[in-house]
């Protein structure tokens, strides 16, 4: 059973529907016991960094998710949920994240011809050939975001080009994050969720 962390994050229901479609059992929960006994965690998120982090902390979920991930439980952060995995963000002031992957979440630079947010389908460039997610090479996935993660190349599995090289799928050990929305990225997006469930959690 995968636990989708429930903290009024926005894209939760669509994520649940995607897992349901794939017949992968999930539970939408904020219950510590359920989170502890789950086989893997999904951290959704849409919106701004600081209020999301504050909600996670108020509900006692930030420390719990961190502990579980550090103890080896597979974790997949999605969109803002991916950004929360990093050390900090500069969105409306400097805010600490979960600190599970070294790096900082920063705003896109302003550049003529590039609209912010990045909204639409962008093409993944594969950076780590041996990844379970290598099938993303040259595939388009769906993005909606105004900030992006700046981190070392060793954590970047795929990236897309939007003014800068934007990490699209990141990984540190069994901790993964997608800046794109797999639940809105058609067949290849569903394959990301399935691969996480089967190859990362199912290992």
């Amino acid at each position: 059973m995968l636990a989708i962390i429930d903290y009024d994050a926005g894209n939760t229901y669509n994520l649940k529907k995607a897992f349901d479609y794939l017949k992968i059992p999930t539970v939408l929960t904020a219950d510590p016991q359920q989170i502890k006994t789950s086989d893997g965690l999904i951290l959704p998120g849409v919106g701004a960094f600081a209020p999301a982090m504050a909600t996670l902390q108020q509900r006692g979920l930030a420390d719990l998710v961190k502990q579980e991930a550090l103890a080896g439980k597979p974790l997949l952060g999605i969109c803002l949920g991916m950004q929360l995995l990093f050390d900090s963000s500069t969105e409306y002031g400097k805010h600490a994240g979960l600190g599970l992957i070294p790096g900082q979440v920063v705003a896109f630079p302003e550049k003529p011809g590039y609209k912010i947010p990045q909204m639409g389908w962008n093409q993944n460039q594969l950076r780590q050939k041996n990844s379970d997610f290598a099938f993303l090479a040259n595939e388009y996935t769906y993005f909606v975001h105004s900030y992006y993660a700046k981190c070392e190349a060793e954590y970047v599995v795929t990236a897309v080009d939007y003014m800068v090289q934007v990490p699209a799928l990141v990984q540190r050990q069994q901790i993964y994050g997608t800046q794109f929305h797999p639940e809105k990225s058609g067949a290849v997006g569903l394959q990301v969720l399935q691969t996480f469930a089967q190859k990362v959690v199912g290992k």
């Binding site: 229901y13 669509n14 529907k17 995607a18 349901d20 479609y21 849409v46 919106g47 609209k115 947010p117 990045q118 909204m119 639409g120 389908w121 962008n122 093409q123 388009y140 769906y142 909606v144 080009d161 939007y162 639940e183 809105k184 990225s185 058609g186 067949a187 997006g189 569903l190």
Partner: protein
């Protein structure tokens, strides 16, 4: 680089797709979820559902439609038609819509754009603008209520205003071109593209493969929307994309 989007539009009346779409492999030609799934298979980048239900009482069915579609279709969904309140926007987003499009309500109550953008983010709020050239003055005027009511608003000025109010995207239909299959209103999109910095979706006039090439090559639009050419198999999404790719337009 972001891919240019090809967007089929479905008219929904009381929960059923209105126009006689004739995909041979559908068991129920009026079922929005089946048609949406077929468009996903064909490679659509996004879907727009336009609620053309006449009465408010039956509008709630649109939430059910979105709920059903989003159980089997995993791409961005935009819903428009008759939305007048934050409560309605919230219900549609919760049911699985990614964006809502405001048209008449944006003109009647521009504050709704700002309220929606503040609560859900600019990227959720699309303003749909129906534009027709005024025969006497030659001005590009905005129409509301499904093109039935003329306003005194000029298209470019209105576009700037709604973007300032918080619209994250504009869906602009040229009523002059709509239904003619004579191509998109390229001059209009050029003017709008120069005036605002949010994505613009061109709508109205698609008839041939070349029409899609022309609009993407000649104007700064993020996507092109069409209904009848796709519904009646005059063109397939795959054909449109392969033609665009050959012309050097970045598509998925």
């Amino acid at each position: 680089m972001l891919a240019k989007r090809i967007i089929p539009c479905l008219d929904v009346d009381q929960g059923r797709v209105k126009k006689g779409i004739n995909f041979v492999n559908l068991t129920d030609v009026g079922d929005p979820a089946q048609i949406a799934a077929e468009y996903q298979r064909q490679g659509a980048d996004e879907l727009v559902f336009l609620d053309i239900t006449a009465t408010n009482q039956q509008r709630k069915t649109m939430v059910d439609v979105v709920e059903q579609v989003s159980r089997q279709v995993f791409m961005p969904l935009t819903v428009g038609g008759g939305i007048t309140s934050i409560t309605e926007i919230q219900a549609l987003l919760k049911a699985g819509a990614d964006k809502v499009s405001l048209n008449s309500a944006a003109v009647a109550d521009p504050g709704l754009i700002t309220a929606g953008a503040k609560k859900f983010g600019n990227q959720c709020i699309v303003v749909a603008i129906d534009v027709k050239t005024d025969p006497s003055s030659g001005k590009q005027l905005v129409y509301t209520h499904g093109g039935q009511q003329k306003t005194s608003l000029e298209a470019v000025a209105w576009a700037k205003q709604v973007v300032a109010l918080g619209a994250g995207e504009l869906l602009v239909t040229s009523m002059d071109q709509d239904g003619t299959k004579a191509g998109f209103a390229i001059d209009l999109y050029r003017q709008l593209g120069a005036a605002v910095d949010v994505p613009i979706i061109a709508s109205g006039g698609a008839g041939s493969l070349q029409d899609f090439v022309d609009v993407f090559q000649s104007a700064d639009v993020a996507g092109a929307l069409a209904a009848s050419v796709f519904h009646y198999h005059e063109l397939t999404i795959a054909q449109v994309k392969s033609t665009l790719r050959q012309a050097g337009v970045n598509v998925r």
